[in-house]
Amino acid sequence: MIFLYDGTFEGFLSAVFDAFTCKEDVAIEKREGWQPQFFTETTELETSPEKAERVVNKLLSICGRRGFSAIVQIFLSEEENAETYTFHLVKSVMKYGSKAFSRFQDEKITRAMEFRKRVSKECDKILGILRFTELANGVFYAPFEPDHNILPLITGHFYERLSGCCWMIHDIRRGNAIYHSKGKMENVEFVDEMTSHLNMADLLGKSENEDDFAKMWRGYFKTIAIETRINPKLQRQFMPQRYWKYMTEKKNG
């Protein structure tokens, strides 16, 4: 039996709930893009916040915040069959408790933990290389295109850190953005799908001082390198080229 869910984490969790109450062997897949196959029975599930919450509480009580956040990260990795691996891990956690995370004897779990590592690595990297631009309206705006769906994982960091600023972090690839002002964070509703993938700095314009600070940062970036140690390979290894597009010191060459 295959359960089709709406693609959200909440939807996934409520599918997990239904899967546990179902007698059969169940797989969980995204509804969008699902190709009907012969001989497989599918059920389209409604997302139920109550069911999702019960699963969350259950998992928290078994494996704590740390374990739970590992599960979230694996789901958000959006790697191929991420749902399957997340579901497998959730089942193991129900069975073995926190020990499930170190079952390296289980290949699927090792793979799931590999996804988790990729996600947390990308989070660590992005916390450093995300760049804010001050827009004409005073909002500090940071566009980016992460490999994994990490926007929900990084906002907490900036919530604490840039409490005194209005800011917006925008996943241009997925068309999601979070806006912060005076201690409140909210999802940004874009007027339409197309706008959700546009760089707001182009749309709204930059503040008066913005180019000066960007210029000084670029100058500093150049001057800090030691000539006799130049090593572009090493630089790229730490700072993969695919991220340069939005980095003040790296874009435009």
């Binding site: 590992a70 073995y96 020990k99 995370f101 170190s102 079952r103 390296f104 004897q105 290949e107 090792t110 933990m113 590592k117 660590d124 916390l127 450093g128 290389i129 995300l130 760049r131 804010f132 631009t133 001050e134 500090f140 940071a142 960091h157 604490e160 850190r161 840039l162 409490s163 005194g164 600023c165 201690g183 001082n209 000066d212 600070f213 960007a214 210029k215 000084m216 940062w217 100058g219 500093y220 970036f221 150049k222 001057t223 800090i224 390198a225 030691i226 006799t228 140690r229 130049i230 090593n231 572009p232 390979k233 090493l234 630089q235 290894q237 730490f238 700072m239 980095m247 003040t248 010191e249």
Partner: protein, 415 residues
Amino acid sequence: MELVEKLEILGAAAKFDASCSSSGSSRKGVEGGIGSAYRAGICHSWAADGRCISLLKVLFTNYCINDCAYCINRRSNDVKRATFTVDELVSLTMNFYKRNYIEGLFLSSGIIKNADFTMEKLIAVAKKLRNEENFHGYIHLKVIPGASDILIKEAGLYADRVSVNIELPSEKSLKLLTEKSKESIIKPMTDITGDIVENREERRKTKKLPLFAPAGQTTQLIVGATPETDRKIVKLTEAFYKKFSMKRVYYSAFVPVNSDNRLPVVSMPPLDREHRLYQADWLMRFYGFQADEIVTEENPFLSDDIDPKAVWAMRNMHLFPLEINTAAFEMILRVPGIGRTSAFRIIYARKNGSLDFDDLKRIGVVLKRARYFITCKGKMMTDTLITEKSVFEAMKTTSTKAGAADHTYEQLSLF
């Protein structure tokens, strides 16, 4: 002079300081304020030399009354000079920080007038950031050799980390190349250690007391400008960790910027040597090694071909092989090819059932190296032939330079 030009001069003048780390502090952000520290530190960019940029690392001024032989800012050099104002530095720090270019400020300086006068300038910047700008990001203040204890006490109230650079590994070399006395360096180090201990004890009683340099103190020394052995440097490092409870000791491969007949003539900075020293340092901080185990009196230099952990293992073959399913954590840590993360994973994973070589591979153990030192369920990996030559070949590192850079980051994951 335009601010952009000042920044270039005073950034370039600070670039030979190796430390840029923003780790060790967990200063919290506050509502309405700007900034917080991140315990593991965050790298924000990597310069063309592959070194991480975490803090805005600049000198307050590159004027200096001293004439240290190795230093680009010495008074006898004819270089462009500049001095920031306190406000300029505060504005740069805040604006760079809000754009997420940096984790905070690392402020050092050439010496103007005298040590205390200079120190007061550095403190003024930090104080303004904290008190007027509501800034809670990372601040690393360099302590000027010879600065008085009162000023050090004040610096520690605003800074997350403070450091005094020893620069050269022996008193003799200090005398030869600088006008600084050993005393003027060791004294502030001792003061800082005392202040940190005192602060920690008093905070145990009253939590309200402000933190004093929560990310501790560090130091740095130049490698290859003077004739000291690696053993001397590693032993000195150990003493810094043990006696002064330093958080980090940084090494900076000597880059000749002045021609001076007291200095050796080198065409390239000794990067491989610097890298090996960092490996040795790592072994002392995270792997439970003593300096004497890493560099012996008979072999006072680290090996060019083989990393110090493997050298130790090869010298102590009688302690191996280890049975992975029962060996103590401390010993597993000492196996070449097994890092800290893998060692932790082994300890956790073997609670779920005994491990074989395939499991180790999944855990992330580099079997190509580890196989000579371990057994799983009593057996060595098939086709493992232990001869002096085979072990030597497997231990030889192919590239050392590639890994030379990221000493600023120290992250550990239990999973």
